[in-house]
Amino acid sequence: MNPNWAEENLQTIRTLMERSAVYRRALAPTLIFCGVIGLLSGAFGVWLQCDDALVAIAIWLPAAIVSVAGAFFLMRRQAIKDSEPVWSAPTRRVMAALFPPFFVGGFVSTLFVIVSCARCRCGDNQFLAPLAVILFFSYGCGLHSASQFMPRIIRSMGWQFIVAGCFLSLCLFHDDLRDKSFHLLMGGVFGGLHLAYGIYLYFTEKKNPIA
């Protein structure tokens, strides 16, 4: 008998307990909320028709803050409703899993924006498509990493972002595609994917509770 089986069993038990404890019932409304914010921000950016770095920050930074705040509010409400602690051990593990890729994405994005502001005139969007690629990759890797402690569908969502990043990377070599609006990409991929997964989770959780 493998002498480590007891330790492996304990690790599996810990993982299962954490996976079931993260606020799965709050996931669908959270994803839908973030999707709507993403789509609205993308639509606003497209309407403005200005693809420079400062406009991108002015639109997407508040969008990110509103999304995180909204997600926190929805999770907190669910936790209170289920009599679970808001800042529980599973939540801390999810945050710890999300942090490295999100930190790298945020750090590299900030560098891109600084370089973009220093070198480009307004309307020059050559840095924005690579910025979207970095954001897609880092966000996708973060979701994939956090999916160890969340419903498995989050892993699939992480892969969708990674695939979107790969596809967009290939498009960077094509002039017509490279010049597509940053806001269209962000709104379509971030907003669209969140909304699609949110709606899927909403309907599958509400409609299939049958034994």
């Binding site: 002498p3 480590n4 007891a6 330790e7 069993n9 304990l10 599996t12 038990i13 299962l16 307990m17 954490e18 996976r19 079931s20 404890a21 799965r24 289920d82 009599s83 679970e84 599973p90 419903p151 498995r152 599958t204 959780e205 509400k206 409609k207 299939n208 509770p209 049958i210 034994a211």
Partner: protein
Amino acid sequence: MNPELFLQLDRVIHEKGRLAIMSALAGTPELSFTELRDTLEMTDGNLTTHIRILQEEGFISVAKSYQNNRSLTTCSLTKAGRKAFTGYIDLLEQIVRQNKP
């Protein structure tokens, strides 16, 4: 290695599928049948069988209700189930400590 500890492990909980069910339920107040099935990636039949065994042992309680005109089955750990699960974890921890050099 002390074989006594192995013999004390609860045989009902020790089975892989049932241990997974107990672990998932220990982390949350209750889970629906669908949530359990999706989390553990088990088939309906397999899950139903294990739930029945755990229910007969008094380790989990199963509640049936209706939501939007559809039946909703939810499972949760009973007091006895939580105690048995905690005891099982304690034994595993003892075995781990025993195996440490």
